[in-house]
Symmetry: C3
Subunit: 166 residues, 3 copies
């Protein structure tokens, strides 16, 4: 039994960003040498999510897969994009003051929608590894989502595996 860990980075945009990270996760699994176990794909960012979904094949003019744009459209109905302060309770004055102390622009904190969308969708997926194969089925792909629309950033994805070597 062993623990394996790796990470890689993603560049997000100033709109909900979805990146198919399946190949990088599978490569991590191969590098680990772990043949049977549990693989955790995890984002430590509180405006991001990790999800398993079918590939949509088609994309919109922005390059977003249509199934992911359908998801954004659903989320927009229940958690509208935060366009100005006062739309949500958060961020309050103490939060803005703390952000200023970190030399952050005030508008960087206008990502309440992203915090809420991310916690609703979840920050990780756990996937069985069986006989050296990641159990995604025929159509399952792993996506990293960054819901933050106020700034483009480099984001870290972590792959943590606990299991048995071959």
């Amino acid at each position: 039994m062993t623990v394996y860990q790796s990470s890689f980075t993603i560049q997000s945009d100033r709109r909900p960003t979805f990146e198919d990270i399946t190949d990088r996760v599978v490569e991590s699994m191969h590098n680990s040498g772990i043949n049977n176990g549990i693989l955790l794909v995890y984002s430590q960012h509180t405006t991001c999510s990790v999800m398993i979904q079918e590939a949509a094949d088609d994309v919109n003019y922005w390059g977003t897969e249509l199934l992911m744009q359908d998801l954004v459209n659903v989320l927009e109905k229940i958690i509208p994009t935060c366009r100005t302060e006062g739309q949500y309770l958060h961020p309050g004055p103490k939060h803005i003051q703390a952000a200023a102390g970190r030399n952050e622009e005030a508008f960087w904190s206008l990502n309440t929608d992203a915090h809420l969308r991310s916690v609703l969708m979840g920050r990780s997926v756990s996937i069985p590894i069986i006989n050296g194969e990641l159990m995604l089925g025929e159509f399952g792909r792993i996506y990293f989502a960054d819901f933050d629309q106020v700034r483009a950033r480099e984001r870290t994805v972590r792959v943590q595996i606990v299991g048995e070597l071959l």
Copy 2:
């Protein structure tokens, strides 16, 4: 420390299907001999979910537990059942073409609602095993949900356990 894996199948219907799989998961745990660890119940199908919920006792005319029907009613409000193409962006023309290449009926791809409901609800649950007992509390039951309403299918549920033998 060891890894144990098992799987079993579920027959879904052409409506949201919820099946109480607690007994089969507990049986897997007993078969594993693992006394302390983490148990993952996982669905590799991108229109299905695994959830922990209280048993409702009462069912509707379809046999669906009332708490699960309440869940379907909530989901219907935010992610309406897909009744025809064009209601959601997905499936687009490339997706339909790819499905035709797999000899799939076009209407089989009209399950966008199920893809979205499933990713919102999550594809797995992780549960502690302590001294040979699955920590579900007095009322927790494990359900497999198939949200796909376009065809009835056989579905696979995987149980993956990492932990210590007695």
Copy 3:
């Protein structure tokens, strides 16, 4: 490789309760001596959730962090607070009869909203431990949520860790 388990309790209120449990989880990790692995924070209660979120700094008059109150406001729109029987299908007559057999007040079962909110938000989070550090990033905090609004109760949070000792 080893398995470590611990638990602690939370006192909830008759309104959605959010408690920052980060320090207690990190203390459990330190007590475990596990340096690399997967840490599961889990609630066995079917009206509760465990979530990772940024701290909001500001709180409302009830002491609820503003980002969590924003979450409650979103949930209220899609899963309204259950105020009387008949608003949701659950609880049905058999459920009320079973509850009466456990000497429960009938109104204790009017927590359908909490069951639905909890299963939507999820019952656990899994977090990597790398070189003795819990991977929460700069802003991630772990919250225990009790969505049950019909009674104040003591709740159990479980921390289960699988990994390698230093």
